[in-house]
Symmetry: C2
DNA sequence: TTGTACGCGTTATCAA
DNA sequence: TTGATAACGCGTACAA
């Protein structure tokens, strides 16, 4: 086993106590210049790096946050994570990243892993608002902030966007263009996607259009899912003139399926997505979609988490942030 | 300060020693069933989770790997990371993720951070083959594996793709279509992109086409960079009929710039990218590009790292893996 | 089958 | 300005 150089080794070689070495490293206490230099020379000589594990044990701080997301390969989360990283960097925190792939079991696994690792705080995009992971974090009083989910508990902080309003915007826009048979590509059965279905239904209802579950195809999340579900839709003999995909990745897959079938967007089928990923403006057909701030959500959540961590007393109020979605009109829809 | 429940608390409440609690948790030694049950009950009662920090200190293992990439928001790395995550999951390792944004200073920072945190191993996509981070890892004899860079040191393991060959393929393809004035969008000045320039030059030379640095625009990496550089190119009065972008993200930006300028692909300008990101087939114009395995590179590197970690003696040989790139022809190029 | 006591590498406290 | 030493929470000989 590789013997690691410790503070004791440095102390011995520099003819000082471990306490002094510790002082030199932390820079908190004054140390005589000559001793300091002697110690620093030995540290450099061995490329000595402090052992944060041991350090954390006494300090009770790891300078680490854990981030749990549903799918790291979805560009939506990439952008959120970018925002988180930026904040973490400013505060000199390091980031653990975990991916649940929408499985509650994995979510719980990583939650526990982070708790065991004593991450100072956790950002989590949960599979369900009452997931076991959330319960555990809450019970353990670990600073955490929920991403991308509304939690019905006044004590729990979260940031999300108004999915019902966003989906309403998308559907209502299609209806305003004259579409009445609008297919819906349903994401996995998590709160966000269920709410988007609600917004879709709400828009139908307000426009006196009957809802039909024959036009709802699920479930999924990424471009492959969108491809598959749209193929199902196309071969279903259902009549429809537009598709509302619950997120952009699925819309990208839908686009592929539509073109493969020989149809065209928006001439034959109109298409709307959700998220406004930066690539959607460069798709085969620039995509009409719903924008929600992503980078900002990550930043916001991370910043709030930092204050949660640093005021060890609870803040006295909690953040329930609901971002407002916006319709971004591009070229994927046409007036009937 | 929140008092954490420790093994000692459990021991006290269950009327046993800490050693016994430890045995119950690890399951290594036999414990009488009745005591075991008593201890387990107390553990459940408090939702006790072991403190991995303390555990690591004695065990000298953190069950953690660190991953350092150049840009987490580039879909290329998303896919690589996906491969890494899959392997880590199988081996019950957790993953620290860090992003250097092509800055050597940040690379060194995270390398040190991982060393201090005693990550059992590190996967790194370095800014330069002789970076300070690489030097440190090598000196400290920490198990590590280099991603996406060829290292001129027999002891250092790496996996990458043959950038020269790939860029040659791309350029030669354009030439075979009759293009002779081919602009090159240069990525940041790191080995991979420099090699792609070499491949480009090589193809020109073998086809007796003079190289002109007036056709080379740099430097960048993502879609915004591609947009900016292509605008520069378009306003430069240089005559050209094709663009070879050093990666797909830049090609996406180039596509945007070209369309904004009123020109069309491939009618007015042919375009080739590099990486074969899965979205490239769904772009405005499905992109002709160079494929290199991404998920597989991540998997391979992670698996090799795992064996490096688990055979604490060095393996006796090292892996220098160079993946073969392939031309993927879609619709973004035309014959002159 | 179980308990005692020490070590892991650091920081913090108290003396000197 | 420095040193000795007790924590921190866990694993593990060694002993019982």
């Amino acid at each position: 086993m590789k013997k690691n150089i410790t503070i004791a080794d440095i102390a011995q070689e520099a003819n000082v106590s471990t306490a002094t070495v510790s002082r030199v490293i932390s820079g908190t206490t004054r140390v005589k210049d000559t001793t300091r230099e002697r110690v620093e020379a030995v540290i450099r000589k061995y490329d000595y790096e402090i052992n944060s594990i041991a350090q954390s044990l006494t300090k009770k701080k790891t300078h680490t946050i854990g981030v749990i997301v549903l799918d790291i390969n979805n560009l939506f989360f990439s952008e959120v994570i970018k925002g988180i990283n930026e904040v973490a960097r400013e505060h000199e925190y390091d980031v653990f990243l975990a991916n649940t792939d929408f499985e509650e079991e994995r979510e719980l696994h990583f939650t526990k892993a982070f708790i065991r690792r004593n991450t100072d705080g956790i950002l989590i995009s949960p599979v369900a608002e009452n997931s076991e992971g959330i319960r555990l974090l809450n019970k353990k009083k670990i600073p955490f902030f929920v991403l991308n989910c509304r939690i019905n508990n006044p004590d729990i902080n979260y940031v999300t966007n108004d999915n019902i309003a966003g989906a309403y915007l998308a559907t209502d826009y299609l209806i305003s263009l004259g579409h009445r048979e609008i297919a819906f590509l349903h994401g996995y059965k998590i709160q966000g996607f269920i709410e988007r279905l609600k917004g879709y239904k709400k828009a139908l209802k307000e426009n006196n259009i009957a809802y039909s579950d024959k036009l709802v195809f699920g479930y999924g999340e990424n471009d492959e899912d969108g491809l598959r579900l749209t193929k199902d839709l196309l071969s279903s003999k259902q009549s429809f003139s537009a598709i509302f995909a619950s997120n952009d990745m699925m819309a990208i897959g839908a686009m592929e399926a539509i073109y493969e079938s020989g149809k065209r967007i928006p001439d034959d089928i109109s298409l709307v997505g959700y998220d406004n990923l930066s690539i959607t403006k460069n798709l085969k057909i620039p995509l009409t979609t719903i924008n929600q701030p992503k980078f900002e959500q990550g930043k916001l959540a991370a910043e709030s988490l930092m204050s949660l961590i640093n005021e060890n007393t609870s803040v006295g109020y909690s953040s329930h942030l609901i971002m407002k979605p916006e319709l971004v009109i591009r070229d994927s829809c046409r007036k009937l």
